[in-house]
């Protein structure tokens, strides 16, 4: 196993740091498939002869496992290094598809929960955080750009997986036509698609694991030179979670994700409902599907564009924009969204780009606050906010909408209470962001800090 250890993957002199983002993307593009899980929903409901809710649990379990495994295994990922973590992620993600496939082939839904949900979900959590700390170490000058590229891949993964899965199902079941409403693929086609995806993703992720390196000097954490936070902070994960800064940032991420899910969850019926008069909507079902595609693009591009911008304007102002401007845009959407489809789409696009940007910028924010000592492990713990928002967001929106009717048969005014609730959620996040101050020296790891200072002065003297 030694070839997988951090010490065995130290880059040689002159190794290009521009090989690290594609390595990270190979992982994130693969695990981003999870957001395209809905393409299997109709076929799975038919195959297992069960409810949409029962199938919906597969995705929910995977996302909860993502948050939990990132939190619990973050320190292991940090210590083991990116190659071992990427390998573990590839094996879990691939095995998840295989076990899920066995569940579909044998009609055992619990195997799909265990495979794709639990095992695959662990692969998601490990894979999501595996390249983050390494990217920040390779790009100390542009951490937002580096993590933005990788986390953009998570958004991009769904864009690839959705058409790819439809094509595979059509290959294995010639009667399946994905463009026909209510089309379902056979159980054997679904099982074969899962096996194919499992193999393809495992190979793709292993290529990423083979490419990845840690920067020279980072083979051993105890002797590596770390980039401190903005006030010289080097904080361990176990200490970071005891700081108010961590929990304010947790609230910031939670609020940003919750508000974004408010739109994403209901995007297609929502745009039709906003432009409904006398029972009929002026927006067709095809156009509503197009709107979902536009939002996917905004989600992906926002991750890269806004996170890169944060390197220039700073992390706190970037979140002031996500939450403050986002709040105003949400308000405009609630009050004037039904004035024209252009206004509705433009507002929703910017809001969703902020949702994506919030995910991509948070590792760099953590680096600024706590330094790079254990930034990957701290990031893993912070992702519990995502898992919590993944449950809370739909609960809030569906809970409010349930009191007025069913999405797809509503009008713009029916959405106002839910949207205004999200304005409140964003306001809480906005205040939490303003409360974030540099971490107190009491939380620094003083031994690591002193040793790091020594290494920096020794290097500077050597340069002279």
């Amino acid at each position: 196993m030694s070839r997988l250890d951090k010490s065995a993957i130290v880059a040689g002199p002159g190794y290009s740091r521009w090989l690290i983002p594609p390595a990270a993307l190979a992982v994130h593009l693969s695990i981003g498939q999870v957001y395209a899980f809905s393409v299997f929903k109709n076929s799975l409901v038919e195959s297992f002869d069960t409810s949409l809710t029962a199938i919906g649990w597969v995705f929910s379990i995977a996302i909860v496992m993502l948050g939990l495994s990132a939190a619990v295994l973050g320190t292991w990922v940090e210590r083991s290094g990116p190659r071992k973590a990427m390998l573990a992620s590839a094996l879990c993600w691939g095995l998840g598809f295989m076990v899920g496939s066995a569940g579909i082939a044998t009609g055992q839904l619990w195997l799909l929960y265990l495979g794709y949900g639990v095992i695959g979900g662990i692969g998601l959590g490990i894979g999501y955080i595996s390249p983050v700390s390494t990217l920040i170490k390779w790009f100390p000058d542009r951490p937002g750009l580096a993590t933005g590229m990788a986390i953009m891949g998570f958004g991009g993964g769904a864009l690839i997986a959705s058409p790819l899965s439809n094509k595979l199902m059509a290959v294995y079941d010639p009667d399946f036509v994905s463009t026909e409403p209510g089309a379902v693929a056979s159980a054997s086609a679904l099982a074969s698609t899962f096996v194919t995806l499992g193999i393809v993703y495992t190979v793709f992720m292993l290529i990423g694991a083979a490419l990845v390196r840690v920067p020279p000097g980072h083979g051993d954490d105890s002797t590596a030179e770390h980039s401190p936070g903005t006030n010289g902070a080097l904080v361990r994960a176990s200490k970071a979670i005891r700081t108010p800064q961590f929990w304010f940032l947790w609230v910031v991420l939670f609020c940003n994700v919750t508000a974004g899910i408010g739109i994403l969850e209901q995007a297609a019926p929502m745009i039709q409902d906003f432009f409904r008069e006398g029972g009929d909507s002026s927006v067709t079902a095809a156009a509503a599907g197009g709107f979902v595609g536009v939002l996917s693009l905004a989600n992906m591009l926002g991750r890269f564009v806004w996170s890169s911008l944060s390197d220039r304007i700073g992390r706190k102002p970037t979140y002031v924009m996500y939450l403050g401007v986002g709040l105003v845009l949400y308000l405009l959407l609630a009050l004037f969204g039904s004035s024209s489809t252009f206004v509705f789409v433009a507002l929703a696009v910017v809001i969703i780009s902020y949702y994506g940007g919030g995910f991509a910028t948070v590792p760099a924010y953590l680096k600024d606050l706590f330094g790079t000592l254990e930034v990957g492990a701290i990031h893993g713990r912070l992702l519990t906010a995502w898992a919590a928002a993944g449950v809370a967001g739909p609960l809030i929106v569906n809970g409010i909408l349930d009191t007025v009717g069913e999405p797809g048969n509503l009008v713009a005014a029916d959405y106002r209470p839910a949207l205004l609730t999200m304005v409140g959620v964003l306001a809480i996040g906005f205040v939490a962001n303003l409360m974030i101050k540099p971490v107190s020296e009491d939380h620094f790891d003083h031994d690591a800090h002193a040793a790091n200072e020594d290494r920096i002065s020794t290097r500077k003297e050597a340069v002279r």
């Binding site: 593009l29 690839i160 920067p215 095809a286 156009a287 693009l297």
Partner: protein, 45 residues
Amino acid sequence: MSSHDTSDTTTTSPALVALAWALVGIPLAYGLWQTLVKASALFTG
């Protein structure tokens, strides 16, 4: 700034860097194109 050289001066073959980016760029471009086709329905549908 860290001790290690994270600058853009490199001895890695540009072909390897291009290949690595193509490996992830081509599937991503496919996904983007498919999504753009789908998204165009918003303006034509």
